[in-house]
């Protein structure tokens, strides 16, 4: 692949570097249908297809340089802020990390004063079971209510106008290591929620609750017998390795499925045409793969389910017997793309294992899976069998030294969601370039007792910088341009009809990039590192606004928000080594920033 460096931002302090394809792929306007845009932002992904595209074009490549802060709002919290703000009926809603406060801000008043706040009072002990900082990825609006999840496993419905609690339902148990960090998706009259805690021996599930009453309508487990997984006669996986009775039991050592992980803490998409939801399952547990020989279904794969009944339609396992913590919870963008002269109904999925999957969403067939980052842990995906080809010598073995495993456990991309522009036809992927070494066993001593730890150390892969923003052509299946950042790009992206892509960096820069060329046109330094999801909306005054939460944390930023020691390279499950310089360039503190043209 020929690539050439063509330019840099004007800001010399930034490490970013732009790479464009030698024979640049040309933009191609999208021919598929799009959900109409009313200028609001009622769920983190904006539309049910998870495209995160705003049709607003007041702010564009020509005038974005004049973008200014319109107003701000402090959350007063110092943990990682991963949520997307919502905008509904001229009100903005913000969900914070633990203690999971919900704030309503009145957009019709100057400076957007607070209308009300709602405190769900989550349990303090839930902080101890969250693996990777006490984050929350946002809320969803439907039917006059704001729905979101608390770290201690409650789903709450709050009256959007008054801020009063309509119902709350407990879905899991912190004493079993369960927590909930994901943003729910509301489809028709159902709130869809999944659990986190693959590091703590949970059994993963996705649950549908009734929007009116909060009652559980169905729950689908991700391990165990078919009846628990809601697998029945209508289950037709594309590949033979996913067919058979009770694979959620048989692909594990005896009883290990009961603590097999496979939670669901990422994103769900919905296709009204087929009435199917699509979502990925998390890593199998325990983390140490030697303790769970077998394919470990239905972990690290994708389910298509009927939203009304939860019944599984198909499944595909991206990373069978996952050895590297390659959760499959990343977003699925629903698109109709011309492939080999035919319009195919597809899912576009930048997977943690490093391949960009284009799948037929009606059957679960993998149409293509090209690498969008540096990969040494696998050779590729066999498109005939659908199987991921592992590299034997890169498998972690207890007590052995294995070097240069790429991608590292956070993958080529983690939870941070990408966006799509129908004007270019490209997908804008915020992600990372991380490899790791698994070193000798290390004797540790905790509270008087000797333990043994494997030493995981993460570091930047080839090219040196740890972060990437990649524009990807899902038809030609290749990168169009790519920006580099010193640290992983752990924020989401949003794309607008002004041909802009917005994203944030861990240093705290919020940037606007030309969607066609990758040139940085504007940037603003916020108070803390950005791991939130930017949005674009139309205010009551008719103006376009861009909003994002700043506030470093999460797995990558725990070294700042959790005050971990930068000299312990194995802290934060090995991530601390990769982010050791982060405390030098940013500090913690949650703040909402809203931008507009003067």
């Amino acid at each position: 692949m020929l690539s050439l460096a063509v330019g840099c931002s004007k800001d010399k302090s930034s490490q970013q570097q732009l790479t464009q394809q030698g024979n640049a792929s040309s933009a191609h306007a999208y021919q598929g249908k799009l959900e109409p845009d009313d200028g609001q932002w009622i769920r983190p992904a904006k539309d049910l297809a998870s495209l995160r595209y705003s049709t607003l074009d007041q702010i564009n490549t020509g005038n974005v340089k004049n973008l200014k802060v319109a107003w701000t709002f402090s959350t007063g919290l110092d943990r990682g802020h991963e949520a997307a703000p919502l905008v509904v009926n001229n009100t903005m809603y913000i969900v914070t990390p633990w203690p999971n406060m919900l704030y309503a801000l009145d957009l019709t008043q100057p400076g957007a004063p607070m209308k009300w706040q709602y405190n769900p009072r989550p349990s303090t002990s839930s902080k101890g079971v969250a693996c990777c900082d006490v984050v929350n990825r946002g809320a969803a609006y439907a039917d006059g209510k704001i729905f979101y999840n608390t770290l201690d496993n409650f789903t709450v419905a709050v009256d959007a106008e008054k801020g009063t609690e309509v119902w709350r339902t407990k879905l899991g148990d912190i004493n079993r290591g369960e927590s909930v960090t994901m943003a729910p998706l509301v489809v028709k009259d159902k709130v869809l929620v999944g659990n986190s805690g693959g590091e703590f021996g949970i059994r993963g599930w996705l649950t549908a609750l009734d929007t009116k009453s909060g009652k559980v309508v169905w729950r689908a487990y991700h391990t165990g017998p078919d009846k628990d997984v809601l697998i029945g006669p209508n289950f037709h996986p594309y590949y033979p390795q996913d067919r058979g009775q009770d694979l959620g039991v048989k692909s594990w050592p005896p009883d290990a499925w009961k603590v097999g992980g496979a939670g669901m803490w990422g994103w769900i998409s919905y296709d009204p045409e087929t009435n199917l939801i699509f979502y990925g399952t998390a890593n199998p547990g325990p983390w140490n793969a030697e303790m769970r020989p077998g394919q470990n279904k239905w972990a690290a794969g994708i389910f298509a389910r009927d939203v009304d009944t939860g019944e599984a339609k198909w499944f595909y396992q991206y990373s069978p017997h996952d050895e590297f913590d390659y959760d499959a919870v990343n977003e699925n963008l629903i698109l109709d793309l011309p492939i080999n002269g035919q319009t195919r109904k597809v899912l576009a999925h930048p997977e943690r294992n490093g391949y960009f999957y284009i799948m037929d969403r009606t059957t679960g067939q993998v149409l293509s899976a090209n690498p969008y980052g540096h990969i040494t842990s696998t050779h590729g995906v066999d498109l005939k069998t659908g199987e991921l080809q592992y590299v034997e010598e890169k498998k972690p073995r207890f007590g052995a030294v294995v070097r240069d495993i790429c991608p590292a456990p956070p993958g080529v991309k983690d939870w941070q969601p990408s966006s799509f522009s129908p004007r270019t036809g490209w997908i804008y992927i915020p992600h990372q370039n991380l490899c790791m070494d698994e070193e000798d066993l290390d004797v540790n001593y905790i509270a008087g007792t000797p333990y043994v730890g494997t030493n995981t150390r993460m570091y930047a892969g080839p090219g040196g910088n740890e972060g990437r923003l990649t524009a990807w052509d899902p038809i030609q299946n290749k990168m169009v341009w790519e920006l580099q950042e010193k640290f992983p790009v752990w924020s989401g992206t949003v794309t607008t009809a002004g041909d802009l892509v917005f994203y944030g960096t861990l240093e705290g820069w919020f940037k606007a990039v030309d969607a066609k060329t990758g040139n940085v046109l504007w940037q603003f330094k916020t108070g803390s590192g950005i791991i939130g999801q930017p949005i674009s909306y139309r205010g009551p005054d008719g103006k376009q606004y861009i909003a994002v939460l700043s506030g470093v944390g999460g797995w990558v930023g725990a070294i700042v928000s959790g005050g971990l020691d930068a000299r312990d390279p194995t802290a934060a499950l090995g991530f601390a080594n990769a982010s050791r310089d982060l405390p030098k360039v940013t500090s913690k503190g949650g703040m909402l920033y809203v931008f507009s043209l003067p």
């Binding site: 005896p254 009883d255 007590g399 001593y445 509270a447 043994v452 730890g453 000299r567």
Partner: protein, 263 residues
């Protein structure tokens, strides 16, 4: 004036020995049998044995030795020594070992299970208590997991409010057995009303995974001169130390290194 001045000098010289070298010992304020604030742990007692051998005054610095503790506190000069660290632990200097102990199977004597190996077929039917820690491997959990006995495991926190619970749950029948680090098992087994049996895990390692560890005094990196001096005290006082450990019920294995250190 001058006499006052002289008496001042005199006072200063006289009281010097009290100020002279202090041995700062980091210890958990509430984690028996290791240490507690009342001085009732074997690490408290061992610290005084070593302090007197060094002719230094022991000063306890209360700290919970959790993850990152060595880097964040010990090597920043808060203390000079940790009383019991496994040989091979990174981040600290270590003396010669004074004790070799092992993970042990704890069972009730009246059940006569006689388990000493993870390959014992009886284990598959038993409820087994193990202390676990999220991203670290408790050696027994690793061994049980590899044999497909993950769901036999009942997890216990290593630093709960009641660290002896894993042992008392064997005594009261909630567990069939537990695989527990020797010093902890020995101390709480002694206090148990039901008679308990402790059997060291055999063999004492499995591939790269040890079940028995040599314990030594951990010394802060900025105090390298302390290592040789403490080694000398450990050799001189080995009988007293061994008796002290026995009085806490700590299972002691023979170790070539420990024996050599005593010479």
């Amino acid at each position: 004036m001058s006499s006052l001045f002289r008496s001042g000098i005199f006072f200063f010289v006289f009281s010097l020995p009290a100020f002279a070298a202090t041995l700062k010992v980091c210890a958990d304020p509430d984690n028996l049998p290791y240490s507690d604030k009342a001085g009732a742990g074997f690490e408290n007692r061992l610290a005084h044995v070593i302090g007197s051998g060094l002719h230094e005054q022991v000063q306890f610095v209360w700290a919970r030795p959790r993850r990152g503790f060595v880097r964040e506190r010990m090597n920043k000069g808060e203390c000079d020594v940790l009383m019991s660290v496994p040989v091979g632990m990174r981040g600290v200097l270590v003396t010669k070992p004074y004790l070799r102990s092992s993970y042990v199977f704890v069972t009730r004597a009246d059940r006569d299970l006689d388990i000493s190996s993870f390959d014992d077929p009886q284990l598959k039917k038993l409820k087994i208590g193990v202390q676990t820690l999220d991203d670290e491997y408790a050696p027994p959990a690793q061994a049980l997991g590899k044999r497909g006995m993950l769901t036999n495991i009942v997890g216990y926190e290593p630093f709960g409010k009641v660290p002896g619970k894993i042992v008392s749950d064997v005594a009261n029948g909630k567990l069939d057995t537990a695989v527990v680090w020797g010093p902890l098992a020995g101390f709480y087994a002694r206090r148990s009303r039901k008679k308990l049996r402790l059997t060291p895990v055999q063999p004492d390692h499995e591939g790269a995974l040890p079940f028995a560890y040599d314990l030594a005094v951990g010394v802060a990196k900025n105090k390298p001169e302390l290592v040789g001096r403490i080694n000398q005290v450990l050799a001189e006082k080995h009988r007293a130390i061994s008796l002290l450990l026995t009085s806490f019920g700590i299972p002691q294995l023979n170790s070539r290194e420990v024996m050599e250190a005593r010479r």
